[in-house]
């Protein structure tokens, strides 16, 4: 057995013994206080309780509804504001510093002078009910000089409430009503409509049309189709961008010379290189682009006819977010003649170029989605302003 175990065993044993026999080894038990109790009869108890009740009445005079003199001065008229001009020899307006128990504080002097003067012509207020400890006022508590009328704060508030009378001249002012939010409004942040790929996947057109099932795409070597612009573009040379907009030309496929399997394989490979990669631009990213161009779309110098003309403008973008100024072209216009369309197009072109200083803030990883942008400039709302 180890030493530590022995020590522990011994200590525990000592502790047990102390607990068991400790009280026995102690001396006298603690003393118990004993009080003697006398037994009273019911008559004696009743007599005692009646005496204590009388003592309480004498000790609390203000609580007991004893007949007080309060009702007596109530009908008496209030002292007139002008007391008898008794030029007292003590002109000190403040109470003497000597502790005179019967002298009330100075500010209350004028109010508590209520010497009943029956000849007072007017009643201002009923006197306050005298307190139990109130002693009759002494002469020296009369104001040394004529004092002003009692302050009106003791008087019931007689504030004239404005009459709400119907003014025939003008309608009562309407409180400004805040426009209530439409019922559909909510303070919650609404999620973006498209970004969730799962939801997008549930859309039938997307899920049922794998890329390999698409018709032949125009090959990069195909000649660019002429734009249907009514106004000639600034530069006649075609843009070198192989990816053109969706032109109505069906791009006939030489099916008779190509194997179907090879076609499908080639298209699958080609499609992999041309299809936009990554998720499309979010609504926020589109909105940022829209706002950026809007800030430079100045219609202040447009003619009335051009202000009624909507133009659709296409522009090819560089990966740095800069538009290719030579690629800006008018796709279509509505609402005006050729001259108006030209003015509106030039204003749109200026807007695209001016606000592109440093490049538009578009996500580079989604370049495939915005390398060509079609912008519709609709001035209808601007015309109303």
């Amino acid at each position: 057995m180890q030493t530590g175990t022995k020590i522990s065993l011994g200590a525990h044993g000592a502790l047990i013994l102390f607990v068991l026999f400790g009280p026995v080894l102690k001396g006298d038990p603690p003393p118990v206080e004993v009080a003697e109790v006398s037994i009273l009869s019911s008559e004696q108890f009743a007599a005692l309780t009646s005496q204590s009740a009388q003592a309480e009445v004498e000790g609390a005079p203000e609580v007991q509804p004893e007949p007080e003199p309060a009702p007596e001065p109530a009908p008496q008229p209030d002292p007139a504001p002008e007391p008898e001009p008794q030029p007292e020899p003590q002109p000190q307006p403040e109470p003497a510093p000597e502790p005179e128990p019967e002298t009330p504080p100075a500010p209350e002097v004028t109010e508590q002078v209520p010497e009943p003067t029956p000849d007072a012509p007017e009643v201002i207020q009923a006197p306050a009910p005298p307190r139990e400890d109130a002693t009759p006022p002494q002469v020296d508590r009369v104001a040394p000089e004529v004092v002003a009328p009692p302050p009106p704060d003791a008087r019931p508030d007689v504030v004239e409430t404005p009459q709400v009378s119907p003014d025939p001249g003008e309608a009562p002012p309407q409180e400004p009503q805040e426009a209530t939010a439409p019922e559909q409004a909510t303070d919650r942040i609404r999620p973006e409509p498209v970004p969730d790929p799962v939801i997008a996947a549930l859309a039938p057109p997307a899920s049922r049309r794998p890329p390999s099932a698409r018709p032949d795409r125009p090959q990069p070597t195909a000649a660019p189709a002429p734009t249907p612009a009514q106004i000639p573009t600034p530069t006649p040379e075609p843009t070198p961008e192989p990816q053109q907009t969706e032109t109505p030309t069906p791009a006939p496929a030489p099916a008779e010379t190509r194997d179907a399997v090879a076609d499908a394989l080639a298209e699958a490979l080609g499609g992999a290189t041309q299809a936009p990669a990554g998720p499309p631009l979010s609504a926020g990213e589109k909105e940022a682009m829209r706002v950026a161009v809007s800030q430079c779309w100045n219609v202040g110098s447009l003619s009335s006819a051009a202000m009624a003309t909507t133009v659709v403008v296409a522009v090819d973008m560089g990966q740095d977010g800069m538009p290719d100024a030579n690629s800006i072209r008018l796709l279509s216009s509505s609402g005006g003649d050729d001259s108006s369309a030209r003015q509106a197009f030039e204003a749109a072109r200026r807007a695209i170029i001016r606000c592109a200083r440093g490049g538009y803030a578009l996500p580079a990883e989604k370049y495939a989605h915005w390398r060509e942008i079609e912008m519709t400039f609709n001035p209808e709302r601007m015309r109303i302003r």
């Binding site: 100045n298 110098s301 100024a325 030209r342 072109r349």
Partner: protein
């Protein structure tokens, strides 16, 4: 457990396929619709035109300043001060440093050259769209006597204005009006004509008799007006070039006033009061033969032709208060087009034919307003103690009118305002002015 695993696999497949489908669905260009823009004056730069010789220097500088004033005065343009220029234009044929003009946000650049030789001045100019790095239109050249340099400046400004805005020109035009001097109770009036901007004032009549309501002919060579020279109001026609006048045929004991040319310039419509009744008549200037167009016991006055000459708009109180009516020139029942509260008067048909300008009195205030020819889309452009007598600029975009201030010392002066209600400004005249009439664009 197996089912849960399968469900996870299915969800993953759906996500993968969905992403692919989304990419396919996002085919084609990014499409954005822009409906909000800004309405601001377009910044432009017009460096002093390059003088071809030393004597052309001052003329070149003045022409540049008039062009800048014309464009700025429209409210549609704002001149970039010369102190902000990075590069100067020392050679009219030199290529434009677009980057320098872009840096100071000059969206349009006007360059030109001026040559003076043999009492004639020649002005060449070009207009550039700075941010497109291209010229707007082709360069133009005007020539004329040196004394007419202001007209050439106006013509250059007209070309620039039309090329950039698409609106018709109006700077190279004149205004005939009644010049007024003296207090209200002893006001002296005479006809005057000036450039649209208040320059080159010429007086056509003296102050010996009261003259009212001058109106330019369609080609600007004549002026119709009403004069009290005979004691009664009578219509006169004045040749502006020769400053010669003659009275139109009138009947003794009648009062004729409020004349206006028909678009053909050969017919005049006017009001004639006979026997206490006022109606509208037309008269051939050549023959003096008149035709009564209205026959109503009410007051019909202030006729104005539509641009095609087929209809008349006029003022009539047949409904109890003065209102605007339209009727065919050949006769027919008038159609009321004004229905707002107040009194309408002095209607004038726009040169474009789409709007009618008028004076409206409502609630103690006078307004200049426009409405469509069917009375719709009424818009009040001004409001003051007394605004009256609108007249259209040749392009139908700007109105000029007379505004009189209140009080015994009140003075009448000319103002112009864009039909959008913007750019209200005073037209400087040497004295008081009223009854303006805008000429057509000068040839």
């Amino acid at each position: 457990m197996m089912m849960k695993h399968l469900a996870s696999l299915f969800l993953g497949a759906v996500c993968l396929f969905g992403a692919t489908g989304a990419v396919v669905a996002q085919d084609g260009p990014l499409r954005i619709e822009i409906t909000d823009g800004v309405i601001e004056p377009l910044p432009f730069a017009v460096p002093d035109f390059v003088p071809g010789s030393g004597e052309a220097g001052e003329t070149a500088r003045q022409i540049s300043r008039v062009i800048a004033a014309d464009l700025t005065g429209t409210g549609l343009f704002r001149e970039v001060p010369a102190s902000a220029y990075i590069s100067q234009v020392a050679d009219f044929g030199a290529p434009v440093a677009y980057a320098d003009w872009k840096a100071i946000n000059a969206q349009a650049l006007i360059t030109g050259a001026v040559n003076v030789a043999g009492g004639n001045v020649t002005v060449q100019f070009r207009v550039y769209d700075v941010f497109s790095d291209s010229e707007i239109g082709n360069g133009l050249q005007f020539s004329g006597p040196v004394a007419g340099w202001r007209r050439m400046a106006h013509k250059v400004a007209d070309a620039v204005y039309s090329r950039i805005t698409g609106e018709g020109a109006y700077f190279d035009s004149r205004v005939v009006y009644v010049s007024e001097t003296g207090p209200k109770d002893d006001r002296r009036k005479r006809l005057a004509v000036m450039d649209y901007d208040g320059a080159n004032v010429q007086y056509l009549t003296d102050s010996s008799s009261i003259v009212l309501a001058p109106r330019f002919s369609p080609n600007g060579d004549r002026v119709l007006y009403t004069s009290y020279e005979s004691g009664f109001p009578r219509i006169y026609v004045l040749d502006v070039g020769a400053v010669q006048q003659r009275g139109l045929q009138s009947t003794e004991g009648t009062m004729s006033f409020a004349p206006r040319f028909a678009p053909d310039g050969q017919t005049v419509v006017y009001s004639l009061t006979e026997g206490g009744n006022t109606d509208i008549y037309s008269m051939s200037i050549a023959t003096g033969q008149s035709t009564r167009l209205t026959t109503a016991p009410s007051i019909e006055t202030a006729p104005s032709f539509s641009p095609d000459g087929g209809r008349l708009v006029f003022e009539s109180d047949r409904s109890g208060t003065p209102q605007l009516y339209i009727m065919p020139v050949g006769g027919g029942e008038p159609t009321r087009i004004s229905f707002g509260q107040g009194r309408y008067g002095t209607p004038v048909w726009s040169p474009r034919g789409d709007l009618i300008a008028f004076t409206k009195q409502s609630k103690g205030r006078f307004h200049i307003g426009v409405m469509r020819t069917d009375g719709s889309e009424e818009r009040l452009l001004t409001a003051s103690f007394l605004d009256e007598g609108p007249t259209w600029a040749p392009n139908g975009r700007v109105l000029m009118f007379a505004r009189e201030t209140q009080g015994a010392q009140g003075q009448s002066s000319l103002y112009s305002v864009d039909i959008t209600g913007r750019n209200l400004k005073a037209v400087p005249t040497p004295e008081g002015a009223s009854d303006p009439s805008w000429s057509p664009l000068q040839n």
